[in-house]
């Protein structure tokens, strides 16, 4: 049998295409179908088509909205914190000084650890009885805080953990943006005796804005899907104050085994992410168009 060039190319491509089809496309279509069904994956019963019932029930449930509120609060705090810290640190790092390479590498380390390992470490460090953080607070004469189990602070324990992990990403993106600014612009501004603020406002910011928007887009999308640290650090508690939407999806899917409903909620989350991403992309295009 003779295989031509085109045939040979398809032969090479076929395994990857098939793999993609089975691993990515098929589950997407299958789970979309299940989101319109009453289905429990542990039962030996076929999915029962219920139309939009799952979506109607989820969107009218105060429990679900509460979890969206928790997620929104968390995303806002974490992404804002990462952006402010990352941007500030990148500006500080964007100059020549001894040991710059080592310090930059050290700053990037948190991003390289597994989130579950980090969550476990934070759990120990934030323990009010034998954690290092409260030990330091008490040495400073400050009251101990039950970081992960006091409803007033639990969300902040997650935010602190996330900011610690992902600020380096913001640093990295900002540094990449800063490296694209042509130095002659600053030199010209120096000749014109422009202040630091004017240089930042009219040279730095316009150049790095697109990459900053991209960084914010990535972090927002990622933070909305945030699961690992909630699972390890707070388990959604105390009560339900740190129960984010992805964590709730996990519970509905694998603890309650309401498979159809969990698929519907996952798709609602996807729509929210797409919506938010569109806003970012709109701004990105606007900034690029200037």
């Amino acid at each position: 049998m003779r295989i031509g060039d085109t045939g040979l190319k398809w032969l090479f491509l076929a395994p990857t295409l098939l793999l993609l089809l089975f691993i990515v496309v098929f589950p997407l279509i299958w789970s979309l179908g299940l989101s319109f069904c009453k289905y429990n994956a542990t039962r030996d019963e076929p999915p029962l088509f219920v139309g939009l019932q799952n979506y109607r029930r989820l969107l009218s449930s105060p429990d679900v909205w509460r979890r969206f509120t928790v997620t929104g609060r968390y995303v806002l705090l974490a992404v804002a914190g990462e952006f402010a810290l990352g941007f500030g640190l990148a500006l500080l790092l964007n100059r020549r000084f001894y040991g710059k390479g080592l310090i930059t590498t050290l700053f990037l380390l948190p991003m390289m650890f597994s989130p579950v390992v980090i969550g476990t470490f934070f759990r120990f460090m934030l323990d009010p009885n034998w954690g290092i953080v409260d030990h330091v607070l008490s040495k400073l004469g400050l009251p101990r805080i039950a970081w992960t189990s006091d409803p007033r602070f639990a969300i902040y324990s997650l935010v602190i953990c996330d900011v610690w992990i992902w600020t380096p990403f913001m640093i990295l993106m900002t540094l990449a943006g800063l490296s694209t600014v042509p130095p002659y612009l600053y030199e010209a501004a120096e000749i014109d005796r422009a202040s630091w603020w004017l240089k930042f406002r009219y040279i730095t910011l316009p150049h790095i804005a697109p990459i900053l928007i991209l960084a914010l887009l990535f972090r927002t999308m990622d933070a909305i899907r945030f699961f690992d640290q909630v699972y390890v650090l707070t388990g959604g508690g105390p009560g339900e104050v740190t129960e984010t939407v992805p964590f709730y999806i996990y519970k509905v899917a694998f603890s309650y085994w309401r498979t159809g409903e969990s698929c519907a909620l996952a798709y609602i989350l996807v729509i929210v992410i797409i919506g938010l991403s569109s806003i970012y992309i709109h701004y990105l295009n606007k900034v690029r168009g200037r």
């Binding site: 040979l8 994956a41 009885n129 970081w147 992960t148 009560g239 085994w257």
Partner: protein, 459 residues
Amino acid sequence: MSPDMLPLFFERGGSEMRRALTALIALCILIPFPAAPAEEKVTLTIMWADWEPAHLLLKLAEEFTKETGIEVRGNFVPWPQYHDKMFVEFASRKTSFDICLPDSQWIGEAVEGGHLLELTDWIKEKVDLNNYPEMVIKSYSEYPDGSGRYYGVPGLLDFVLFAYRKDLFEDPKEKEEFKKRYGYELKVPETWEQLRDIAEFFTRPEQNLYGIAMWQAPLATAGLVDEFLGLFWSKGGRLWSGYEDKKVVGYLNDEAGYEAAKLWVELYKFHPPGAANYSVDEVLTAMQQGLVAMAAIYAAFYPALTDPKKSRYADKIGFFMSPAAVDPSGKKHHYVQLGGQGMSISAYTPHKEEALKFLEWWIREETQWKFAEAGQITPDKRVVYDDRFLKLAPINEVVRKSLPLLRDFWEIPEYNEMAEYMSRKLNQACLGQITPKEAMDDIARRHEEILRAAGYYGR
């Protein structure tokens, strides 16, 4: 061949080369796997939580291997992930294990899904059910209760008991001070009200000492509900009207329910800071470090407290049984929350015969004695009611006294959501976000919603 030569190879390569390459790809796809040897040695895999009893079972199983030639290995999962891992495998209708030990309340979920091998005929032939307390059979083997259909043999007996610091309880100064304050002797509590007093007495934040640590985490397994129900039953509480009706409103949230929730919330005040997320590890650590005077644990975890390598107070820890309580009408009740697991066979195992042999070996009196001699807890009455048993572990007197008082909660497939909701609402009550009454009313309402959605009320 260098990478830049590849295009050349594809463009100009001779037909022989192309043919050779095609043959190579076809060979890679079609190459047969080595044939299995005719007489493959069977290895049974047991799935259980990653804890002391599981490792002990594996060690004992070496004797089973010697006897039968069947190898046994473990697939042990940490408690918080145990349920989800097991049921994800069940959902795929193919399990990596042959034998499993589902927690007692999971039996309904597993049986309704068709994941456990029905053992009714085998049990009638091989097992003398009189060797076990009725509650143990109902919780670990039979589903639905009273149906006479069995899906496992009793595995590990477990239940809630309390550990306490003997050095504090036996200190003459503490005894004197306690009597002055509460008007009765300081000793291990017999009622939940006494337990409350003692917890309050030992709560001294300035000394970094607290009265009690109990599971408070809003989880369905290893969470608040596991330890709350001992108090709830003893206060005269009812989860529902009965297995047939399953009405919850007006039953779970009656006066007894409110009283139980109120006392539970009061007890939370005597916990160390940050106890709202306490589960297995946190409670054990609090006791090991001497942070608390008392701790509620499931009995099988006791070695973590008495092992000097793990516990700073190993030689100062004693155990007492879950206390009794008085209901709102003044009647005394005494129940102990059952835990533990039955030993079942996955419906998807290719090694049914070998797995049955293992179960048969496990329920032998001789094996149960060995399990008890190694310090673990058997539900086998032939062992528990033999006086030699009392000397085998520091908790065994409590085991014998607790055995007739055991009670278990829902075993229906919806238990997970019901238990999780109950834990979460009472957790909120402990944190002052809602009152105990609001918590119980809300739990009752939600439980009926869950049961209605599952179709129980129309049946």
